[in-house]
Symmetry: C2
Subunit: 367 residues, 2 copies
C-alpha cells in the first residue's frame, strides 16, 4: 500500500482549490510513485510540496526573498526540482504555460505547465458541460482558458452584450440610443448564430471588469433560462448551472488592506487532508470486504504549514487567526463548506517558505 505523505506549504490568501486528481497528476509527473522508505528518502522522495504562490513565494509582482532560498534547496545543480512540487494559485486570468514560465523566471528553476494549478483548473472535472453552450465571464485569455479546460462551445459576456445591447443599461456612455431588433433572415440584421443558440450554463473564470455588465447579463441568462432575448413570467428554478472559480474576493496585494481572511488556504489544506483520510478508510474497507477495488490515491495525508509573509500577522489584532468560539470574527471560507473550527488550525506556523522547506526536510529525513 502506498504511503506517500503530502505536505502543503501554504500562505493565507484567497480560496484555494486543492483536488486530489490534479495533485496526484502533479506528483506523478515529477517522480515515480513509491512507498515511503525511511533512510532511502534522499534518493526517492516520498513526499511532495504543494505551494501556494501569493503571499508564500510572491507578493504582488515581487518574489519573496525566502522563496529563492527555499528553491535553492529544492533544485539540483542542473536547476531541476529534486522533489515533487505543485503550484496552486487563485489567478485564472493567465494561461497555464505563461504562469509556469513566470514561476520559472521568478524562482530560477524549470516549472512545467502541468505543475501549475490555476483557480479554474478543477473545471476539467465537469465534462458533462464541456460540449454545451456556456456563457463565460472573466478577464484575460478567457476563450483560450475555457477551451483548455475542455469547454468547446462558449459565448463571452461581450458577445452577448453586443447581441442584446438593451440589456446593458448602467453605463450611460455606451447605453444604446436606439433599440436593436434582430429580425432574422428577411430583416436588416439577424442575431448572430453563436448567440442565438440557448446558453445552457454559466462559467465564471475569475473576476471580470465592469461587474455591472457581467452581473446583469448573467442574471438575464439565468432568469430567461438561457435565452436573454425573451421575457419569462417567472424565474426558473432550479436555474441553469453556474460553475464558478474564485468565490472568495479577499486577498492581499500591495495595499495595506484588507487584513481579516488569514485561514482560508489552511482550511482548504486541512479539508483535503480530511478527504484523504476518508478516502483511505474507504479503500481499506473495500480491501477487507472484498469489494471492487478502486484506484487508490497516491497521496495519503496533507499537512498545512502557515507562513507569515502573507496576510497573516500574529501582532495585528485585525488579522488574527479566527479562534473557534469567537463569534465576532466572521468565517470567510467557501460558501459551500460548512464551518469546522478544527480545520482552521495549521499543522505548523513558520516565518517564511524557507523555514517551511527546512521543516519538511527535517521531518522527512531529507538532506
Amino acid at each position: 500500500m502506498a504511503a506517500l505523505a503530502g505536505l502543503g506549504v501554504l500562505g493565507a490568501g484567497r480560496h484555494l482549490w486543492k483536488l486530489p486528481v490534479r495533485l496526484s497528476a502533479g506528483l506523478q509527473g515529477c517522480g515515480p510513485r513509491r512507498g515511503y522508505i525511511a533512510g532511502s528518502a534522499e534518493r526517492f522522495p516520498t513526499f511532495g510540496l504543494l505551494f501556494d504562490i501569493d503571499g508564500v513565494l510572491v507578493r504582488g509582482h515581487r518574489v519573496i526573498p525566502a522563496a529563492l532560498e527555499a528553491f535553492s534547496k529544492l533544485v539540483n545543480s542542473q536547476g531541476q526540482l529534486r522533489v515533487p512540487v505543485v503550484f496552486v494559485t487563485n489567478a485564472g486570468n493567465i494561461l497555464q504555460h505563461n504562469k509556469a514560465q513566470e514561476l520559472s523566471d521568478l524562482l530560477r528553476c524549470k516549472v512545467d505547465p502541468d505543475q501549475v494549478i490555476l483557480s479554474h483548473s478543477p473545471m476539467k472535472l465537469f465534462p458533462q458541460y464541456h460540449s454545451k453552450k456556456m456563457l463565460v465571464s472573466g478577464q484575460g485569455p478567457l476563450v483560450e482558458n475555457a477551451r483548455a479546460l475542455g469547454f468547446q462551445n462558449v459565448v463571452t459576456v461581450d458577445e452577448l452584450r453586443l447581441a442584446f445591447p438593451e440589456l446593458d443599461m448602467v453605463d450611460l456612455q455606451r447605453r444604446p440610443k436606439t433599440m436593436v431588433i434582430w429580425t432574422g433572415a428577411r430583416g436588416v440584421t439577424s442575431l448572430p448564430l453563436k448567440v442565438k443558440v440557448l446558453c445552457l450554463g454559466v462559467l465564471l473564470l475569475g473576476e471580470p471588469v465592469r461587474w455591472e455588465t457581467n452581473l446583469q447579463l448573467i442574471m438575464d441568462v439565468l432568469l430567461s433560462n438561457g435565452n436573454p432575448g425573451t421575457g419569462l413570467a417567472t424565474a426558473p428554478y432550479p436555474h441553469l448551472p453556474v460553475l464558478a472559480s474564485n468565490m472568495d474576493l479577499l486577498w492581499m496585494a500591495e495595499a495595506k488592506m484588507p487584513s481579516d481572511n488569514p485561514m482560508s488556504d489552511v482550511y482548504g489544506a486541512n479539508l483535503f487532508h480530511q478527504y484523504l483520510q476518508m478516502a483511505n478508510r474507504g479503500e481499506e474497507e473495500q480491501q477487507t470486504g472484498g469489494q471492487q477495488k478502486q484506484q487508490p490515491s497516491a497521496t495519503r495525508s496533507c499537512a498545512s504549514i502557515l507562513v507569515c509573509t502573507g496576510i497573516y500577522s500574529s501582532q495585528d489584532p485585525g488579522s488574527q487567526v479566527p479562534t473557534p468560539g469567537r463569534e465576532e470574527l466572521p468565517f470567510h471560507g467557501h460558501r459551500d463548506f460548512s464551518f469546522s473550527p478544527g480545520l482552521l488550525e495549521a499543522s505548523h506556523i513558520v516565518h517564511d517558505v524557507n523555514e517551511a522547506v527546512q521543516l519538511v526536510f527535517h521531518q522527512e529525513g531529507w538532506a
Copy 2:
C-alpha cells in the same frame, strides 16, 4: 387651515424620493397656496400633480403617447401649465436644468428646473455634510450635481484611484505595475492635497460604472475611516456616513426583463400620505394645546394612481402586485422602510397617465 390635496400620478419603477419640503416648494412655485374651494377650482387649483417619469410619461427614450394627451389638457393655449406639477425621477446622472429641458421638449410645455426632483435632490436636506470632504461616486456631471446639492468639498472615485492605484486591482489592464509611494515634500511625488485630506463621508449619486472599482474604494474609505492610504487594525464602527440615492436597482427600460418590482413607487406615495396625516395631526394637537405653532405643510394628503404603462402588468403572473400575506413575493422596497402591506395598494389603477389626469380632473371638479 390649508387643505390642499396632493394627487400623485405614479407608475411603478425604481425607488422614489418624495419629501414634503421639495414637494411644497414645487407646488408653491406654480401657484398661490390656497384652501380648497369647490366650485372655484377651475380658477385656483387646490390640488397638485406629482408625476413619476419613467413608465408614466416616458419609457426608455420615448414619450408615451398618453402623456402627450394628458399634457394637452394640463397646459393653456400659451403652453403654460394650468395646475401645479412636479416631476420626480430616479435619474441622477443629469443636471436639473437639462432634465427640465428634456421634459419640455418631450411634453411640449415649459418645465422649470425647480419642478424637477432628481434621485439625489433630497440630499439638500443634509447641510451638516455640505462643507465636509466627501467621496462621491456615480456617473455624469457628478461634481456639478454635488455642488448644486450643497456639497462644496468632494473628491471623486477616479481622483482617489489615481492617488492610490494599488487599491484598484481587479482590472488587469490598468492594475499598477509598480507601487506608487507618496513621499511628501522631499520625495519625488507627493499626494495631491485634495486627496490627502481625510474623507468624512461617502456620497452615492446613483449607479457608477466599474462597480468593482467603486465598491473597492468606497470600502477602503470606510474601513480606513477616511484615509485609504493607511491600514487599520480593526474596522471602525460606526463607519463614516454613506448618503445614498437610488437604493433600488430594479427598473424598466426597453429590455423584456426584469418584471418582479411593481409597487415601490406606490409604496412611496402612500408612505408620504401617511407622513402627511401624522404631520397634520401633530399640527392640530399643537393648536389645541396652545403649543408653539410650526409652519404647516401646504400639502394635506397624497393619493396614488397606478398606471399600467410601466412594469406593472395585471396579466403577467411574475409582475403581479405583491399580495399581503403571499410570502413567495419578496418586498423590494427601500431597506430602511419597514414593510406595511397596506401601503402597497394604489388608491386608483388606470390604464395610462391620460386616464389618470381625467380621473383627477373629475374628482377635483376641474374642467
